[in-house]
């Protein structure tokens, strides 16, 4: 920092003093606002967290020491929101980061039209949460929602999975083969020998054909002979996903699936940010590194493992940190879509804080402040943890 301004050290003291005062002047507006709206509230919040304070009777505030913190740890009403938030972070963060990376990698390869695609992928980030949440509530609607219909289809497929597994090539093998096939199309070379390069895709296609045939004809629900036979062996509704149990409310009305549904919506809503961050990271990798790796005889996969991933280290750190913090303070989506229900299954930590402070009619601001600080400490600890994980890659 100090090396950047040798020229400022040179002028006469009068000039420098004027300049100094001006510097302060420039910073002043930001600083005043910052002091009033950020610094003071932080201190005030910490102070309040040791009081039993309600805005309805500010004079009746009394010092209770660490009672709020004890209450917050021991009260079973806080445990559910805490675990809910942790659950949300666990199912949301990994796909959020990986999807961002995957899309950015693919977008980086696209030669024409990448700007248009990037724009389209970023659009959900731009559109306000209130709009997206309302829209997804409709999609999840149990009687006609589109996402609900697709989920039903998935359930149906899962129900038939054991049937596939018993009769033909396990479908997940086929899916893996398909993935390999598309990767070879993308130019990854797993198979450097010419015959393999032809036989693998062809066998993939053949396997797909066999599967489709079995699936549509032999395993058909109503006339498939094999299916009729298997139906006697396999208990029905092997995977029911409990969707049928609450047809009117759909997944959002189902305590077990409401949170994953909200996570899926958040994934769609925010993945554009990670894509942009990763794109910037990818553009920063110098092409010489790839050329050097190529000279050393590294294949596509090796170049990805030994050049791209390590070079993306700092970006990944940033992305993981931002995603995690975002996950821990999730509030708006569940608030609009479910309001914390059904049976408190989507009640997050920040929502509990909000309820305590502004909703339950008691305005327990002291207690809510303690909750806020607990969250801050938790996020801080988690970010230390992420930083520690990040260290060996650097």
């Amino acid at each position: 920092m100090s090396a950047a301004e040798p020229s400022l050290k040179q002028p006469t003291s009068l000039w420098r003093r004027r300049y100094e005062r001006k510097g302060m002047l420039y910073v002043l507006p930001a600083l005043v606002l910052f002091a009033v709206m950020v610094a003071y509230p932080i201190v005030r919040s910490f102070y309040l967290s040791f009081f039993d304070y309600s805005i309805l009777e500010p004079d009746a505030a009394r010092f209770v020491g660490a009672d709020n913190y004890l209450k917050l740890l021991t009260s079973p009403q806080n445990h559910r929101p805490f675990w809910n938030t942790l659950y949300f972070a666990a199912i949301f963060t990994p796909p959020y980061v990986l999807l961002g990376l995957g899309i950015a990698l693919l977008l980086n390869r696209v030669r024409r039209g990448s700007v248009a695609l990037r724009t389209m992928i970023f659009t959900p980030v731009v559109v306000s949460l209130a709009v997206s949440a309302v829209m997804w509530t409709l999609f999840y609607n149990g009687s006609f929602g589109m996402a609900h219909k697709m989920l039903e289809g998935a359930c149906h497929f899962l129900n038939f999975l054991p049937a596939y597994a018993l009769t033909c090539l396990p479908p997940y093998l086929v899916i893996a083969a398909l993935l390999l096939f598309s990767l070879t199309l993308l130019g990854f070379t797993f198979f450097d020998k010419a015959p393999l390069r032809i036989t693998v895709p062809v066998s993939c296609l053949l396997a797909l054909g066999v599967c489709v045939n079995l699936g549509t004809f032999w395993l058909h629900e109503s006339f498939g002979l094999l299916a009729a036979f298997l139906a006697t062996l396999i208990p029905k509704a092997f995977v029911s996903l409990e969707l049928v149990a609450a047809p009117a409310e759909g997944v959002l009305g189902n305590p077990r699936w409401a949170m994953p549904a909200i996570a899926a919506m958040c994934l769609w809503n925010g993945v554009g940010i990670n894509v942009i961050l990763y794109l910037v990271g990818l553009q920063r990798i110098s092409p010489e590194l790839y050329e050097a790796a190529e000279v050393d005889g590294a294949g596509r996969w090796q170049r990805f493992l030994h050049v791209t991933l390590p070079q993306l280290g700092p970006t990944t750190y940033l992305v993981v940190l931002l995603s995690m913090i975002g996950a821990f303070k999730v509030f708006g989506q569940p608030f609009i879509m479910t309001g914390g229900g059904p049976q408190d299954s989507t009640l997050t930590f920040v929502m509990r804080l909000y309820n305590l402070a502004f909703r339950y009619g008691k305005f327990q601001l002291g207690y809510a402040s303690a909750l806020a600080y607990a969250l801050a400490v938790f996020i801080f600890v988690m970010s230390l943890f992420v930083r520690r994980l990040n260290r060996p890659t650097e």
Binding site: I42, L48, V110
Partner: protein, 307 residues
């Protein structure tokens, strides 16, 4: 040699094409909900009840038009088919006050963005180029607060705002939005990368420091200013919790809060809700389309990255 290169080139092109196809599918998934929303907002209630999944309202579908022309019963005979195309939109304005919410949101977002850009530019320039007492300490303090989750600030900010007597007022909504450490950080990183010689040349030509900032630094910083402006505007437009806490008078509601209210009031009148939602999201989409070409450049030039 040449054939090998051509082969490699061909493979690269094929890879690019495959990536394009996969990504187009992904992009379609991302954008489909909006296309659906726009389509649904043009349907009448009857149409929405009969046909929930089509993107085009039945009365505009070609086969329905043909049926109608042949004199067969079609969607054009359904009640409401002769309504104005934008009936749901006018309804959303008349019954849901969506225009008021829209105006409020626009006002909040524009004011917050303008003030933040002005204040943060000054502060960031001072942090990047001027030396004054306590500069390092102040800057690290600023950075440290970026790590705090906003939930910590919710309660005490409310106390400050209510202490100032600003609950349920325009200023009460905007004031916390003015303070942003991220903007100072982003701009400072960018300013540090501008060659110092340019500014010294301006100073030799007799510019004041404000003049240097205005005539030399700012024109060079357009990508980062647009990026920061876009992010600030987005944040202000999408803010939900704070307005919810500080406002109780519906006349001040921004769109985010207003729309959830409108939704509760409208029951299952989805086309009308969607019309409100379309109106609420269009300004931001337009702004983003205008600003997006600066986005990647703005982030990448300012050196925003982890540690």
């Amino acid at each position: 040699m040449t054939t090998a290169r051509r082969q490699g080139d061909g493979r690269k092109r094929r890879a690019g094409l495959a990536a394009f196809l996969v990504m187009s599918l992904g992009a379609a998934v991302m954008v489909y909900p909006y296309a659906y929303m726009v389509g649904a907002s043009l349907k009448t209630r009857r149409e929405f009840a009969a046909d929930r999944h089509s993107l085009v309202p039945p009365r505009f579908q070609i086969d329905q038009r043909l049926k109608h022309a042949r004199g067969e019963p079609s969607a054009l005979d359904w009640p409401g088919a002769d309504w104005p195309v934008l009936k749901n939109y006018t309804d959303a304005i008349v019954y849901g006050q969506v225009d008021v919410f829209l105006f409020n949101s626009l006002l909040y977002a524009v004011v917050i963005t303008a003030v933040q850009l002005a204040i943060n530019t000054l502060a960031a320039y001072a942090f990047a180029r001027m030396s004054f007492r306590g500069r390092g300490v102040l800057f690290s303090l600023l950075l440290a607060t970026m790590m705090l989750p906003p939930a910590v600030l919710l309660v005490p900010q409310f106390l400050v705002v209510s202490g100032l007597g600003l609950v349920d007022s325009f200023m009460g909504v905007v004031l916390p939005g003015f303070a942003g450490a991220f903007g100072v950080f982003l701009l400072r990183q960018f300013f540090l990368n501008i060659p110092r010689s340019l500014e010294e040349a301006g100073r030799l030509d007799g510019c004041s420091s404000l003049g240097v900032l205005w005539h030399i630094v700012l024109p060079l910083s357009r990508p980062v200013l647009v990026t920061l402006g876009l992010f600030t505007f987005m944040g202000a437009w999408n803010s939900f919790v704070w307005p919810l806490v500080v406002l109780s008078d519906q006349a001040y509601y921004p769109l985010t809060v207003g729309l959830s209210l409108f939704r509760e009031e409208s029951g299952a009148d989805w086309p009308r809700i969607f019309a409100g939602a379309v109106m609420g999201s269009m300004p931001l989409i337009l702004l983003f389309l205008l600003a997006q070409r600066y986005l990647v450049r703005g982030i990448s030039l300012s050196g925003l990255k982890g540690q």
